[in-house]
Symmetry: C2
Subunit: 343 residues, 2 copies
Amino acid sequence: MTERAADGTGVRGRRKRPTMLDVAREAGVALRTVSRVVNEDPTVGSHLVSRVQAAISALDYVPDERARQLRRGVTGTIGAAVRNLTDAHPVLGAIDHNAREAGLTVLAMSTEDEEAREREVVTSMCRRRVDGIIIEPISSNHQYLSAEVESGLPVVAVDRPLSGLEADTVLSDNAAGIGTAFRHLVLHGHRRIAYIGDHERIFTGRERAAAFRACVAAHGGPLDGMVHPGAVEPDRVVAALQTALGGPEPATALIAGNAATSIEVLRHLGAEAGRLAIVGFDDFLLADILRPALTVIAQDDAAIGRTAIELLLARGADPTHPVRTVTLPVTLVPRGSGELPPA
Amino acid sequence: MTERAADGTGVRGRRKRPTMLDVAREAGVALRTVSRVVNEDPTVGSHLVSRVQAAISALDYVPDERARQLRRGVTGTIGAAVRNLTDAHPVLGAIDHNAREAGLTVLAMSTEDEEAREREVVTSMCRRRVDGIIIEPISSNHQYLSAEVESGLPVVAVDRPLSGLEADTVLSDNAAGIGTAFRHLVLHGHRRIAYIGDHERIFTGRERAAAFRACVAAHGGPLDGMVHPGAVEPDRVVAALQTALGGPEPATALIAGNAATSIEVLRHLGAEAGRLAIVGFDDFLLADILRPALTVIAQDDAAIGRTAIELLLARGADPTHPVRTVTLPVTLVPRGSGELPPA
DNA sequence: TCCTCTCTAGACAACGTTATCTTACGCAAC
DNA sequence: GTTGCGTAAGATAACGTTGTCTAGAGAGGA
């Protein structure tokens, strides 16, 4: 039983929200006039403007975005389906920043790296009629999006392409990154270089492993026991590390295919980390504090987010434009671990 | 000029979305029947159900959440106004997780640690008629929310209380955390312990600095040049560190008041970190990989997120319930840096 | 047989806005 | 004095749903 004052003030309780009609009555004007004032339409006389504004603050009126969007058709909102909301996500930050600059609100939802969740959140975004979707793809099949895309929903894939569907895409230059890392290690005297990275089922894992093999082929080092794509789990990484470092001709340098792998490797090596030259793909917070600090191939997160928004807006402006894939350069950040000489 | 096929297929272009009415016509039933099928109302005959479902997939119909929400009144969405979307945010992850379990969608927006942005994003959430707001407060004054709160919007503050407004709140036990850290260092033989942390303008900075002073008073160590609240900027932190470590009786141990401070301290100390016992408030990814690994006071992020959602739901269910503040315990995680003996 | 009751499905209004059309008014020009 | 025009403000419809009410069909009991 909710006790409340006659005017609804003082005691918490769901008082019905005032609508434009209430404001109109309070101000003694027509509903439409309130709408004009709220939308800063210049055709309202200054006398009425102030009366309406007074009524708005008297009633604590807040316009209903849902009704407005319904009526106007567009939402001014874009969806961002990212892997998770828990860990650091510089690209999401950049997306948010650039979207705001463009006057758009970002609805960020987490796919939790699960196909089913990805589909769920994307569907949820479509039901909310977002004006576009930026997605870090997880699913192996994005056919479920094709109807939306064909009916004009701008969709931009980030970090990996969509499968079974053409869409604008922003990628990092994985091959160049691996190449840069490899040459950097060669330059520092290494010939036996190992690679541990993501499963080749995953796009980036596939690209990076392939690029690594190509580098070995080009530079003529050993390949046997040196390439370890697979799940990024402690046990698997440790086993791969042992294979690479064991035997008569152990690796003297390592390329870690992503941040999680770098971290697992460092966690396992502990104080021994100084004996193995390491370049990690992907930068992460604190990589510069480790000892030795981790040399990394850094993606340009800000540029990725910016480009994603640009592609989204371009697609919205011209739905017939041919699909584009933008590949952004990566940078080697030497910090110590990648400059160690062979043991 | 948008070229498109007569039926709108094949070429991208904003074809008008089908509505329930279109589906109804396609299926030869009434609009209301489509609505019932979409909402899985059991009072529709199975024959019609399948006909409607066929029409839905034939037309690629996706219900419009805005219209549904407008009509039904509730949105099934809660807003989360957090400091930023870029850095790791375990509490946001927990909020998202628990909200999902409760059948709610989270609209996460970033305040960027700016008062103006906080107000902007909160207002934007209100316009979207979220069913509740979880906020990491930044502003020094939250009066602007009072009308919303009084008219029944559930608002839960996390990590710090709102100012100028009563609301349910979830806090970590800052005083206990500082006390635990202090006693831990005392137990390991330290008597000259320093504190560097956030500005006392900020709630947690104030609480932690005060708790630290109380600890010193209780244990009888020196206070002069030992307490350094202030901005978390490299220069300020370095200066504080030099003050604490300089002089005839330098500190042998340090409590860092938050993660950012811990990181700045470690960044500055570099290889010297092993000479100073350190306990950091707030855990962070990779704190366990550093050498020495960082001993921390860890907040229970999962519990914070869970409690925030619980309070939000409780407030929604009973708007008249007295306001609650839940203070959650923190845990000391010994990893090495806090167990170093006095130099 | 008729009445009632239940169960399905349709008609219509309503949610809170904005777009479009219309009206009223004042003023200048003929 | 009438006409025309430009401008401010109101009336009405529409956006795409769901709540409520009602009609009609069929079942079951007296």
